[in-house]
């Protein structure tokens, strides 16, 4: 029998500490949708996506009502679209529009997978496809895009990184009247994972089955409150234990929803991604967890150690709570989506260099960072290379989602709205990496790749 304390604790987590299921994402393979023309492929894509995910939104709504827990986003991820282009990558926008129409029809929040995997090399079609990303993101509302430019096994494809820097600049230009919002829907990965349910980087990997349910849980507010109840005198083993126990409880909710969604939708259960994903709401911040551990402000000395502890304890707690853990699983540190991070940047305590160091010990990378609109493509490419190098050497996923906001300079503010939040424009080192980036070619895979 449940105790009153347990019941009230769960209710408190949901009503006051922002515990939610961040996303139920249906991964759908598009490999059987390739037609003889791109129009035919687009038609098949639309039909398959709307058929497979037909019941996603109503089923999630019903579960929200029955279990009394919000499911914030309902999403679809698909096979990287560059793979179904049949050599005609330049026609990608046709597929993007079909995906956007499918997302509208289904009433879902995002569809991810307008993506290319070019970590070792790029075909002409893939190159042409990547070049369509700015247009695809500016003419659609719900399509998200990603490019994998490196891996521990393959090294870093600098030609692709160079292209991605240009893509980000063009995407920024094409949506300059909307705070360059297209860039918020585009992420550049090193060591991309195939079962990530979170956007903008979700895609349905080629090693996956026909369709699969992946669930992302959240709950930074719950962890923060648990630490706050623990008090300032507790030592680090107690801090880690408290985070583990809390992560366990959060993940169990994700597992329950994943299992139920899988049963009700008749789609195989894939993984639970136990990431702590913040929102711009007060009380839902990863930065505030770090501050609760005893830092005056996020970004100060001690921040990287605090984040390392948090990231590790979240995984340890979550692993036992789910039959299958995957995706990115750890702590996210997007700047614009986290009120504590926003304050950190605004006060000057949190810099891009510190953020980069933090990404070496947490689950993703430089995420939702607004930079000056006049930042050059090669500076963005070099920033991506730095971040990708951390991922490559440490055998982990790293990502870059930066938004050069047209017309804004360091110190200005930008408002993206909704879950994407708002951000001060961060200061970047102004020295030019032009010659470095223009070398092109490939940065060889590190010794860590030779494990066989």
């Amino acid at each position: 029998m449940l105790t009153n304390y347990e019941i009230l604790e769960t209710i408190e987590m949901i009503t006051h500490e922002h515990l939610d299921v961040r996303t139920v994402t249906v991964g759908i393979s598009l490999l059987d949708c390739i037609g003889s023309t791109t129009e035919e492929t687009a038609k098949k894509v639309y039909e398959k996506v709307t058929r497979r995910a037909e019941k996603l939104v109503p089923v999630c709504r019903k579960m929200e009502a029955e279990y009394g827990i919000p499911i914030v986003n309902k999403r679809v991820s698909v096979t990287p679209v560059s793979m179904i282009m049949n050599g005609k990558g330049e026609e990608g926008v046709i597929i993007a529009k079909a995906l956007d129409r499918a997302a509208e029809e289904l009433g879902i929040d995002f569809v991810g997978g307008y993506s290319a995997l070019v970590h070792k090399g790029m075909s002409e079609s893939e190159k042409a496809f990547i070049n369509t990303i700015p247009e695809a993101l500016s003419v659609t509302n719900k399509v998200c895009s990603s490019v994998n430019i490196g891996s521990t096994k393959a090294g870093l494809n600098v030609d692709a990184v160079k292209l991605c820097g240009e893509v980000i600049k063009r995407a920024s230009e094409m949506t300059k009247d909307r705070e360059s919002i297209a860039c918020a829907k585009f992420v550049v990965f090193c060591n991309a994972v195939e079962d990530n349910p979170f956007m903008a980087g979700a895609f349905h990997g080629v090693g996956e089955g026909d369709s699969v349910i992946n669930v992302g849980v959240s709950g930074p507010g719950v962890v923060k409150q648990a630490l706050s109840r623990l008090g300032k005198d507790a030592d680090f083993s107690e801090v880690a234990e408290t985070i583990k126990k809390t992560a366990f409880k959060i993940t169990r909710v994700g597992q329950l929803i994943a299992r139920e969604a899988s049963k009700r939708l008749g789609i195989e259960f894939g993984i639970v991604d136990l990431s702590l994903a913040p929102t711009p709401v007060i009380g839902d911040s990863v930065a505030h967890i770090l501050e609760e551990m005893g830092l005056e402000r996020v970004g100060g000395c001690g921040t990287t150690a605090a984040l390392a502890l948090l990231n590790d304890a979240v995984k340890k707690g979550g692993v036992m709570a789910s039959s299958s853990v995957g995706g990115l699983s750890g702590a996210f540190i997007p700047v614009s989506e986290d009120i504590g991070m926003i304050d950190g940047v605004r006060s000057g305590s949190l810099t891009i260099e510190k953020l980069e160091a933090m990404t070496a010990v947490c689950s993703v990378g430089l995420d939702m960072i607004a930079i000056s609109g006049d930042t050059s493509a090669e500076t963005i490419s070099a920033l991506i290379l730095d971040e990708a190098a951390i991922g490559m050497v440490n055998s982990k996923t790293t990502a870059v989602r930066v938004i050069p906001v047209c017309g804004k300079k360091a110190g200005d503010n930008v408002e993206f709205g909704g879950l994407l939040g708002r951000a001060p424009i961060i200061d970047l080192n102004q020295s030019s990496p032009k010659v470095f980036v223009e070398r092109g070619g490939r940065i060889p895979a590190p010794m860590q790749s030779l494990k066989n």
Binding site: L2, E9, I11, G68, V253, Q255
Partner: protein, 89 residues
């Protein structure tokens, strides 16, 4: 299927009566009930059986919320599995 009804709010006369009448009007059976008042705050937890009820669980949750607003307390109705998932290994 079993569900948990929680009623939380400032204490006043008749909360238990109102909630129990509401549940019985929908043919919902109350299997267990516990209730405390802490510093003027009323907290009641009921375990109910929704088998044979006139409405579905999601509809019951919606009506419960409305009823709570009418009485001036917070009423939640949730499938018991969310609590079991979180607190039982």
């Amino acid at each position: 299927m079993k569900a948990v009804v929680s009623v939380i709010g400032r204490d006043k006369v008749g909360i238990i009566a109102e909630v129990s009448n509401f549940l019985s009007s929908l043919d919902v059976n109350i299997e267990d009930i516990s209730q405390t008042v802490m510093q003027d705050y009323f907290a009641m937890i009921m375990l109910i059986e929704t088998e044979g009820a006139k409405v579905s669980l999601s509809e019951l949750a919606r009506l419960g919320k409305e009823k709570g607003e009418h009485i001036g307390v917070t009423v939640t109705v949730q499938h018991e599995d969310i609590f079991n998932a979180m607190h039982k290994i």
